[in-house]
């Protein structure tokens, strides 16, 4: 699939326009400046009232984290998913040990390995006590490499559906990859692109450019090295035909 700036702009415009049609009317979402202005407006909303999820992380294990993120998204009600999408699935990644917090705070999902917990989407003022107790996740190490990671998404009988999940590794840190993958995966669950019982072939590539598959979902954001360009940081492919 040829990834071009036009395609990335269109993908970002689709994402923003779908959840905030009001902005599509006010700003020209076909331009990069219009897209950035829309994102700034969404991000700049009053942190006390904007909806977000707090994700508490003790340690990062890529395979478990991907599975648990999908499981978490699947536990949300359609109403919760809608309100979170309006805030472009804003997520606070905080360092913390879920086991030390479960007695004091309500989480929507706690990973089986105890490494991650997620609150439901709540107003900023509701999550403030938890956010005050913890620190923003600082994880500047490069994303660890793995040769091949094939995941059976838990939470349902086998669907027979397999997709590729591609992650761009050039310049990728653990912290930034979590942000990108989180947006991509939870929105894919809400869109019905991924569900329990699916198979995911998780692949790392320096850039998504040249991946020989068609993407059905892309995580697009500003290129940190070149603020006038967009970049695809992760993508979910159309179904992969089963090997015979």
């Amino acid at each position: 699939m040829n990834l071009t700036q036009e395609l990335l702009r269109a993908e970002l415009a689709r994402r923003v326009g779908a959840v905030r049609p009001d902005l599509a009317g006010k700003l020209d979402l076909s331009t990069i400046d219009g897209l950035f202005a829309a994102q700034t407006e969404i991000a700049g909303a009053d942190p006390d009232s904007v909806t977000g999820v707090v994700s508490v992380l003790r340690a990062f294990d890529p395979a478990a984290w991907i599975s648990e993120t999908i499981t978490f998204a699947a536990t949300l009600t359609p109403a919760e998913a809608d309100v979170w999408r309006t805030a472009l699935t804003r997520t606070y990644f905080l360092a913390g040990n879920p086991a030390n917090l479960v007695d004091r705070f309500r989480f929507a999902h706690v990973a089986d390995d105890g490494n991650v917990a997620w609150t439901a989407p709540v107003d900023g003022r509701v999550s403030l006590p938890l956010r005050r107790l913890l620190k923003l996740l600082e994880a500047p190490a490069p994303l660890p490499h793995w040769r091949q990671l094939d995941l059976a998404v838990p939470g349902g009988p086998k669907t027979g559906r397999t997709r590729g999940l591609y992650i761009a590794t050039a310049g990728a840190t653990v912290a930034r990859s979590l942000v990108h993958l989180n947006h991509l995966l939870v929105e894919a669950v809400f869109d019905g692109l991924v569900a329990g019982g699916d198979q995911l072939q998780v692949r790392q590539v320096p850039r998504l450019l040249g991946v020989p598959s068609t993407f059905v979902a892309l995580r697009v954001a500003a290129d940190p090295g070149n603020p006038h360009l967009l970049r695809a940081f992760a993508g979910l492919t159309k179904e992969v035909p089963l090997a015979r």
Binding site: A59, F60, A95, A99, N100, L101, R104, A139
Partner: protein, 363 residues
């Protein structure tokens, strides 16, 4: 019992605030030691790895270079410390690593700090303070990785080093915020140093008393809770600083220039004998100033207290035994409360203290 006061980094002159902490600790240690066995742990070696000290040493060698520090005064080193703290740029931790390794592997101390510790030992001797080993290599019982492992096993630590992140002390289960103890660069702070020392020591004692500057209260609450969760019995004693001319300043601002322990001692010893100075200083910094930080330092009041000390020493008899005199000042704890004990000396209509007790605790 274990008495573990916060240590002062040997990078500047001692000030009245430092002196107050040292005198409180000394009276607590010496009085309690008459009643029960006490360990006084004060190890500069433990705290050399923290940034204040390592960063200063790296700065000295980078900007001052080869210099004979053996005749330097505390003030000379203090002026360099002010210059270090005023600088905007901080050397990357990688540049401090050779110093850290030298401290950890061989107990190395930079000559500037070795000189400061030597001068402090002389102040201790003049003041009759027990020297807990200022210049002795006393490494902490645990290495950094060992203490992190131990804290992890107890659910008291969050270690994000695998993801290039920091290490936190985690008392969130007690509703206290996460506190970084090792930076993402790998730089340990003084809390990490304190944990390396106290985690193995506290369980060896029935009771531990932590004495510290009130400004460190949040960190000491964390330390207290962490040690308790490791089955220690811990008490905290926080002391306010001593304002000079109504102001509390810090070493990074050169607070000793107004008044330092050296200038204070030179002044009072010009008028009073050594025993009077020792008792008078304790009466003033403990009973007169109290644990808070409201009272500014007053030279006239210190001078009047010296006169009281002279009279107390003259009136001291052998009538009351140490233990009978000290017991009422213990409260429910093992330790003797320096404030209660010392205020008692100044109370009128009391039997004069025994000469032996004064000698054992105050001079």
């Amino acid at each position: 019992m274990l008495v573990a006061p916060v240590t002062i980094t040997p990078t500047k002159p001692l000030t009245p605030s430092h002196l107050k902490g040292l005198l409180w600790t000394d009276v607590m240690y010496r009085a309690t030691d008459l009643l029960t066995s006490v360990t006084y742990r004060y190890s500069p070696s433990t705290y050399h790895p923290c940034e204040q000290t390592l960063g200063f040493w790296e700065f000295l060698d980078r900007t001052v270079g080869e210099v004979d520090y053996s005749n330097c005064s505390e003030d000379d080193v203090g002026e360099l410390y002010v210059r270090y703290r005023a600088g905007q740029e901080r050397a990357p931790f990688a540049d401090c690593r050779p110093y850290l390794e030298a401290v950890e592997n061989s107990g190395w101390v930079h000559p500037a700090s070795a000189r400061v510790l030597e001068l402090w030992a002389a102040h201790y001797a003049r003041l009759g303070l027990h020297n807990p080993g200022l210049s002795t290599h006393q490494p902490p019982g645990l290495g950094l990785d060992e203490v992190i492992d131990l804290l992890m096993a107890a659910g008291l630590c969050l270690d994000l080093r695998n993801s290039g992140g920091p290490v936190y002390l985690d008392l969130t289960a007690a509703g206290l915020p996460l506190r970084q103890i090792v930076s993402a660069e790998g730089r340990p702070n003084y809390l990490a140093c304190a944990l390396r020392e106290l985690v193995p020591l506290v369980p060896l004692h029935d009771e531990t008393v932590l004495l510290y500057d009130r400004g460190l209260e949040p960190d000491y609450v964390l330390l207290h809770k962490a040690l308790e969760r490791l089955d220690g019995t811990v008490h905290r004693v926080s002391l306010g600083r001593v304002p000079v001319d109504g102001r509390i300043t810090s070493a990074r601002q050169g607070d000793w220039r107004t008044l330092s322990v050296r200038t204070l001692l030179d002044d009072v010893t010009s008028r009073h004998d050594e025993m009077t100075v020792r008792l008078g200083m304790r009466l003033y910094f403990i009973a007169k100033l109290g644990p808070g930080d409201r009272e500014s330092f007053r030279a006239d009041l210190l001078e009047r207290t010296m006169t009281r000390a002279e009279r107390l020493l003259a009136a001291a008899t052998g009538a009351t035994g140490d233990v009978e005199y000290l017991e009422p000042h213990r409260g429910v704890h093992q330790r003797v409360d320096p404030y209660r004990l010392t205020s008692g000396l100044l109370a009128r209509h009391r039997d004069p203290p025994g000469a032996a007790m004064l000698a054992a605790v105050y001079t």
